[in-house]
Symmetry: C2
Subunit: 358 residues, 2 copies
């Protein structure tokens, strides 16, 4: 059910789906991951004589697990790598015919013509270092994420404002679908972890007049959330709590904990830690919502999500995850996952309830 509210400060659905714009924007990760695999890591020649395990591929390329998974997932989404029943990776017919050096229909030289472009070389460097762009540069720090010990533009007022507002553009498109897709009429308090501009909370507050939301984020980011709460008329029900989600006590008393496009910024141990910490703060029967993109459980697509995973790899400490990965972590944290509710821009909500069902 789409909102038909005409008040200028009500969050409503867009008339057109912006997904193709995001997909067009992320095309470079297709070029970069393919060219890196062909011309720099020479994965296809390495697999010429048979299947190899993830560990063998990582050793050959000199890659940490995160980068290897991101690259392999993209190549599988491009139908260039296959995975056997034993988990080892091999060449598809397409790759065997066209990407082995010297094969009759080899086009790897043509692909190699782009191997020295700045984008490809930068991606190769990031894959090798397993750090986000800028993270090894003490002048710049990491752009999108905050963790004690790394510099972050989320700590400086001007850059935190800029980044938070830019990210809010996607949130405004997705938030109404999230608020309408997940019933919160019985919930009292929503905890929005790393809630940024607060747009997702605001959509839930507009949909559920008795709900209160806590946006938990860095102090500079929360200035935006406070402004947006006023703009959208929910300032009396939106509470801003500053903190470090990895270290500070989780704000207590929530019925629903939301991670909206947050976990994809972090590597697996951090994701598990965040889910575990927040799960503990929930009462039995309380819910956790993961709003994010989802790779297929087979980790072989969809291609747009696999390319977005390249973007996340490049910009953050995370990547895209599959629902199966999230479900494993949710279960380990004592939650029972449900079914994904699609929202927009390849995103969906994976809900989970604390405690066993039945």
């Amino acid at each position: 059910m789409h909102s038909t509210a005409s008040h200028p400060s009500a969050l409503t659905y867009p008339q057109t789906d912006p997904t193709p714009i995001f997909d067009a924007f992320r095309g470079n990760f297709s070029t970069e991951l393919l060219s890196a695999a062909v011309a720099h890591f020479k994965i296809f020649d390495f697999l010429r004589d048979g299947h190899r395990s993830l560990a063998e591929l990582r050793a050959h390329c000199g890659l940490a697990e995160r980068g290897a998974i991101v690259m392999i997932t993209a190549l599988r989404a491009m139908n260039l790598l296959s995975r056997a029943a034993d988990g080892r990776f091999g060449l598809t017919a397409l790759a065997r015919e066209h990407l082995i050096t010297g094969a009759p229909f080899d086009v790897s030289g043509y692909i190699g013509l782009g191997s020295e472009s700045a984008g490809v070389k930068d991606m190769v460097a990031r894959l090798r270092a397993n750090t986000p762009a800028g993270a090894t540069d003490p002048e710049k720090g990491a752009a999108f994420i905050f963790r004690e010990g790394i510099e972050s533009s989320m700590e400086t007022e001007a850059s935190a404002r800029h980044m938070t507002l830019m990210l809010a553009g996607r949130a405004r498109n997705c938030a109404p679908a999230l608020a309408h897709g997940i019933a919160m009429d019985q919930a009292k308090i929503l905890l929005d972890v790393g809630g940024g501009s607060g747009i997702y909370s605001i959509a839930c507050l507009q949909k559920n007049p008795k709900l209160v939301a806590i946006v938990w984020d860095r102090p500079e980011v929360l200035k935006i959330a406070a402004e947006k709460a006023v703009e959208y008329g929910v300032a009396d029900r939106l509470q801003c709590v500053a903190g470090d989600m990895f270290k500070d006590p989780v704000p207590a008393g929530s019925d629903v904990v939301l991670f909206s496009n947050i976990l994809h910024d972090w590597d697996v141990p951090e994701c598990r830690l965040l889910l575990e910490r927040c799960a503990k703060s929930l009462r039995p029967g309380g819910r956790m919502l993961i709003h994010d993109v989802f790779l297929d459980d087979a980790m072989d697509g969809p291609l747009p999500v696999a390319l977005y995973s390249g973007a996340l790899f490049y910009l953050t400490e995370g990547r895209a995850y599959s629902a199966a990965e999230y479900c494993e972590w949710l279960r380990a944290a004592g939650l029972t996952p449900g079914e994904i509710v699609p929202t927009m821009v390849h995103c969906g909500v994976l809900p989970a309830i604390k405690g066993e069902q039945r």
Copy 2:
């Protein structure tokens, strides 16, 4: 009819279609042309209040016609710009909702997050300068093309060999479809203009045992063609003629003139000149074949060809053209165009006959 020849030096069809590999390789041009339009040229804000002509768009962006056409074509293929009956350009509903600064569902800030990447900045510089990458750098010259007065890697043995062999990867995939799609059993001499590795000529020679081919290219490039002629067993019928296709006399006596993936390297005046010069060398009833990609006549796609046009813009003095554009030039040169025969990797053959039909 696919060749089933088993001899190792016979050119045959690939078993799998390499087109998705080329498309994946060219994804960066989607990112770069979109980000340039949004964040650097601010085309969508410029069109907010109504339609504008190509001249007005060019003046706003500071672009020569070639770059403006390449960018506008890509944006139309992305469903972001429309063209009215009077030829002026406007916003689609998608662009109006999501790419005007400050609109409720604006994601232009999100797109702008990529605006300072090396790939985007380099494309913006090329669009502004209307020169191929490297062409303004006296150390590097232009990579793929030769014309008197510009430096070209096609003039140096090692680089000419490398580039020619890399480009031959695509040719090997496409050439059998060209040779089988175009009847040359009545032809005596094929002139392959800028024929590079000679692969297209070789496929035609293998298909037509009485045909002779002349590969007309730069001296360093012809060394490869001579080697390939031996490798594929047609050295007795493949003649290498060194020359400057813009200035030297066109080798005389051919029944068929082939431009295979050549014209897309050149701007409109050079294309018209080449077609005119070669048309004069043909007898009435002789044929000209343009093997290339083709934009839709409406200049609004297909998207993969529009992105390849970005690659051609970036690397050469050309772009992708529509069949309508080629047909206009062919008619001006005294030829009557026929129907396109598809080959592979978005390519096809546009044939034309010298003289009027009926």
